[in-house]
């Protein structure tokens, strides 16, 4: 698109918050200005995005290109057994931490062609829309919610079609599937014991239906806003991200939240918070004894933080409840008990290289 887009090397030394030295073709600048976005703000946005995605700054132009292409990538977003929390989260994701009020992803960076909670069309007109956009190929299919295994169970019907049929038809021409949220990624709440509706994760249903397509799990209940959009933009500009064994992008799910938690020093050396609102809670000491699942939960909460870097669960005084993991609702902790306030069992930490006494010695002599 551009003849005077600078070469990548021009960017490699660019500080993350600067747009110095970046030039765009006139058409792109014009289009951005029409949308009320200055070149400078746009570049700082892309630089923030790159650092979030752990991309070298040399990738900024490619991100910028993906974000300003004349034809926006089509995204079809379908909801099944869900609570709309995942979508609410995505709607909050229009700016990056420390970023500007650059306009929203939904209107400017992707073409959100089907999303029942936000779209203008309803009923037959909505169904027509779904059929026509999924008749094209190459769209990204984002799914939230689990899906009941049996099409004839009646547990999910929309537009007179079962969840299974709706999903199968929409997946047919998709280039990529993104399971957003723990319900879609791992079955989540509907699949919690005893799984009354026989709910399946998207990956399980794909296996059942014999659909083999690239799938990215973006788990979390809900996922962090910037992680949802970050993963989509990563795919659009760089292709498939590296995934862990649960098909989650390692850039966001490679570490446990414990690893970046500012309370970690007291996890290792004490003192620990023993009750909510006790003096150690006010000091920001480790919430392990109050049930924190941080050491066994892979997510970016403590690094990226929530709602534009405002806070994350442990910073606001509550332990991690483990929402990004497959066993979120049914995890067995100490004494084989389930519960968000039951400390994780001894040994959970060993596998992660944590010191023994943090898990073993309840008394610890670490109260101060």
């Amino acid at each position: 698109m551009s003849t005077d887009l600078p070469s990548r090397s021009d960017y490699s030394h660019m500080p993350a918050d600067s747009s110095d030295g970046v030039t765009f073709d006139e058409a792109t600048v014009e289009r951005l200005l029409q949308l009320g976005i200055s070149r400078r703000r746009f570049m700082s946005y892309c630089a923030g995005l790159a650092s979030l995605l752990a991309l070298p700054q040399s990738m900024v132009p490619r991100l910028a290109q993906a974000a300003t292409s004349t034809t926006l990538p089509a995204v079809v977003y379908m909801s099944f057994q869900e609570c709309t929390g995942c979508l609410e989260s995505m709607v909050n994701s229009f700016a990056f931490s420390g970023g500007t009020t650059i306009d929203n992803l939904i209107l400017n960076m992707i073409s959100l062609d089907y999303q029942e909670t936000l779209m203008a069309a309803a009923g037959d007109q909505a169904e027509e829309r779904l059929l026509s956009v999924t008749a094209q190929s190459g769209y990204v299919l984002v799914v939230d919610g689990s899906i009941p295994a049996r099409w004839d169970s009646g547990y999910f019907i929309s537009g007179e079609r079962s969840g299974v049929a709706r999903f199968r038809d929409a997946a047919k021409n998709a280039a990529l599937l993104v399971a957003v949220g723990t319900c879609a990624s791992f079955g989540g709440l509907p699949k919690a014991d005893p799984n009354p509706t026989d709910a399946l994760s998207i990956g399980e249903l794909m296996a059942d239906l014999g659909i083999s397509k690239p799938l990215i799990n973006v788990s979390g209940c809900p996922p962090i806003p910037e992680v949802i959009t970050g993963v989509i933009l990563y795919y659009l500009s760089q292709g498939m991200p590296t995934l862990d064994s649960l098909r989650r992008p390692t850039v966001f799910y490679g570490d446990t939240v414990h690893e970046d938690c500012y309370r970690k020093e007291s996890f290792e050396e004490g003192p620990l918070a023993r009750a909510f609102d006790d003096p150690n809670s006010r000091k920001g000491k480790c919430l392990y004894m109050l049930g924190c699942k941080g050491p066994v939960t892979h997510n970016a909460c403590s690094r990226v933080r929530w709602n534009q870097g405002i806070s994350f669960p442990m910073m606001s005084g509550h332990g991690c409840i483990g929402c990004a993991e497959p066993d979120f609702w049914d995890r067995l902790n100490r004494n084989n008990e389930k519960g968000f306030y039951i400390p994780i069992a001894a040994g959970s930490g060993h596998s992660r290289g944590l010191p023994c006494d943090t898990c073993h010695d309840d008394n610890g002599g670490d109260d101060d």
């Binding site: 926006l72 029942e116 203008a120 909460c301």
Partner: protein, 653 residues
């Protein structure tokens, strides 16, 4: 089945959850028609949440129920927390109540604004017409309608600003990628705003997106994240930071440091400003153009409120352990209003709540007359999906009002279907305002109803009657009115001499003054280990959610200390529920009677009324437990106190 439905909306979009609407309109011979009988409202998704809750730790229940709905994320969690607190006899500190009030209040403001702009506006605002607007004239309109509002770039909007919005729309069209705006009922004869009015509202649609992510920061500071912020039985998990400065590995601290408190203050100010400068004037503008909608969408006229926002300012006594003693006044009163006396508040008696499954896909009591200890099982006997259409294009999948047809049960109060939500809130406040117990907020409600709704147009009002509040337009109006009342309650308000109300500091300031106080009742987790001390076996927790009366009932096991049974009767269930055993339609169904449609293939008019309730169907569907009267005072099994369930919480082993 009665006359074959010829108006079908499935899926109903711009709602939370999955909903199908069927109705029959008597054709007018020109493509339109009139709906003369009640419609049919069917929820088509179920998860079975209460079943999942059985046998769980009661401290965990809030996290499960929170996931009933990610839109009303705070209220479902808090209702559960309150139910467990009630079951084990724990009171919470003043700070916990201030924070809970602010979190529920912020949810009202956030949800109601987003409902108006993102879920409802496109029923009234024609985006295609907006593209014909003149930006200069739109800027002039903005100066009149929203004179003080400075959009997020910090300046009053001028012609260039509206040109930018136009460019955005043109961009979508020129790319041929209409995205979310594709396939709307654009150009429908029922759209009445001028191009400039349409463009102004489209610009606020966009502004509200950016605004929304700022106000949820309140939830994020107090609860660590949003949606689904963290809560805890016995108070709040957040606490004042010992380190007022930046949080880091060495200095530690919590989100309630100087920066966090400032974030909340800013969020509160933004809430109030947007409601005053944008949401309220915009609703009044739309109402002026669509006044005839005060004649459509009435329900039977019975309203129910559980009550919400216990006012910590009315606390009488603070206990040594941090717990406080009410009676507190509720900003939204608890009570019932019957159709034959719309200005009289009748006391609420929870024993009169029943549910029945006559038309819902569950096995269980059809009559809803008695509590049952048995379980209600999921039982789908509706039509099969995936059958395609008949050769003439009609549906093979049709729900029958005489059979079971929804995953929502029918709750009834004193055997009557009740409307809940903003209209009920305003009517109950209005009614209490006429009694000796009138709160300042009741006086404000009465003043605003008079000023904006009843006053003649010459005086700037809409010139409508009090009775007309029970309508599609009335629901929208009551929603913005309560948003204003609540935003001011959080942020504070000046004295109003005309209405005779004093200045109020607001919950944020009152909390701030008390911020060093207790956040959590330390007896809570100990208490959970002593089931023999629990005062009642069935805990009842309620909130008045943005969409209306929400109640959870939790029955704890006195041996294991775990949950035996859990039941929710929620707001949208009252409004969206199906017919009952005697065939009385639910509020959505009743409200469709009398609608005149210009085009049966584009049932915009039906959407307007359904959307005016702000459907939240995920909330409504999850019931699998005992039906009948939900509050059951079962004999308490004293003497059994062996639970080791929460012993882990003790420091010493």
């Amino acid at each position: 089945m009665a006359a074959t439905p010829n108006v079908i909306i499935d899926p109903v979009t711009r709602i939370e959850g999955h909903l199908r609407i069927q109705a029959h309109a008597v054709p007018d011979g020109m493509g339109g028609g009139t709906i003369t009988d009640p419609g049919l409202s069917a929820s088509t998704m179920v998860r079975g949440l209460e079943k999942i809750l059985q046998g769980r730790d009661p401290r965990d229940a809030w996290a499960f129920t929170q996931r009933i709905c990610g839109v009303c994320t705070v209220v479902h969690g808090l209702t559960s927390v309150r139910a467990v607190e009630h079951a084990i006899g724990i009171k919470v500190s003043k700070n916990a109540d201030y924070i809970r009030n602010m979190m529920i209040g912020a949810q009202y403001v956030h949800d109601h604004v987003m409902h108006f702009y993102h879920l409802h506006a496109l029923d009234w605002v024609d985006v295609v017409s907006a593209m014909k607007a003149n930006p200069t004239r739109t800027a002039a309109l903005a100066r009149i309608n929203n004179g003080t509002y400075k959009p997020n770039n910090g300046a009053l909007p001028n012609a260039a600003y509206f040109q930018t919005v136009l460019n955005k729309l043109n961009n979508l069209v020129s790319r041929g990628q209409l995205g979310l705006f594709a396939n709307g009922y654009w150009g429908h004869s029922a759209y009445k705003l001028s191009p400039e009015e349409n463009l102004l509202l489209v610009s606020h649609y966009l502004e509200a997106l950016a605004w929304a992510r700022e106000v949820v920061k309140l939830h994020s500071v107090f609860g660590g994240k949003d949606p689904h912020p963290n809560l805890v039985v016995g108070g709040m998990p957040c606490t004042l930071s010992s380190n007022t400065g930046t949080i880091n590995d060495d200095k530690g601290g919590t989100s309630l440091n100087t920066a966090g408190l400032a974030t909340i203050k800013t969020a509160v100010a933004r809430m109030k400003a947007f409601v005053d400068q944008v949401y309220l004037p915009d609703v009044l503008l739309v109402a002026k153009r669509y006044k005839e909608w005060a004649d459509f969408g009435a329900t039977a006229g019975n309203f129910l409120c559980y009550g919400e926002f216990p006012d910590p300012a009315l606390v009488k006594r603070e206990f040594t352990d941090g717990a406080i003693d009410y009676p507190a006044g509720y900003i939204i009163p608890q009570g019932v209003i019957w159709a034959d006396a719309p200005t009289t508040l009748v006391p609420f008696d929870e024993k009169m709540v029943t549910e029945n499954v006559a038309h819902a896909w569950y096995l269980g009591s059809d009559t809803g007359e008695h509590p049952s200890v048995g379980e209600t099982e999921l039982y789908y006997d509706g039509p099969l999906p995936d059958q395609g259409r008949n050769p003439d294009g009609t549906s093979k999948y049709m729900l029958d009002e005489n059979a079971r047809y929804s995953w929502i049960k029918s709750p009834r109060y004193d055997s009557q279907p009740m409307e809940v939500g903003p209209l009920a809130h305003i009517l109950t406040m209005h009614a209490r305002g006429g009694t000796a117990n009138a709160q300042p907020t009741d006086k404000l409600v009465r003043g605003y109803v008079q000023q904006f709704w009843i006053n003649p147009t010459a005086q700037g009002g809409l010139g409508l009657t009090f009775t007309q509040l029970n309508s599609t337009l009335g629901r929208i109006f009551c929603r913005v009115l309560e948003t204003k009342i609540i935003a001011d309650q959080i942020a504070g308000r000046a004295a109003d001499r005309t209405l005779g109300t004093a200045a109020y500091a607001g919950w944020y300031q009152l909390y701030y003054n008390n911020k060093a106080g207790a956040y959590w009742n330390p007896n809570t987790f100990t208490r959970l280990q002593q089931p023999n001390l629990w005062p009642v076996q069935v805990g009842f927790g309620f909130t008045e959610a943005p969409r209306g009366a929400l109640g959870h009932w939790v029955k704890l096991n006195r041996v294991s200390g775990l949950i035996d049974n859990y039941q929710c009767v929620v707001a949208s269930q009252w409004n969206a529920g199906p017919r009952d055993l005697v065939g009385a339609p639910g509020p959505y169904e009743e409200a469709l009677r009398g609608h005149v449609l210009a085009d049966l293939k584009q049932p915009l008019e039906v959407l307007r009324t359904i959307h005016s309730f702000d459907p939240c169907i995920g909330c409504a569907v999850h019931i699998v437990d005992p039906d009948g009267k939900p509050l059951v005072q079962v004999d308490v099994n004293h003497g059994v106190c062996s639970t080791t369930r929460v012993s882990d919480m003790r420091c010493a082993s």
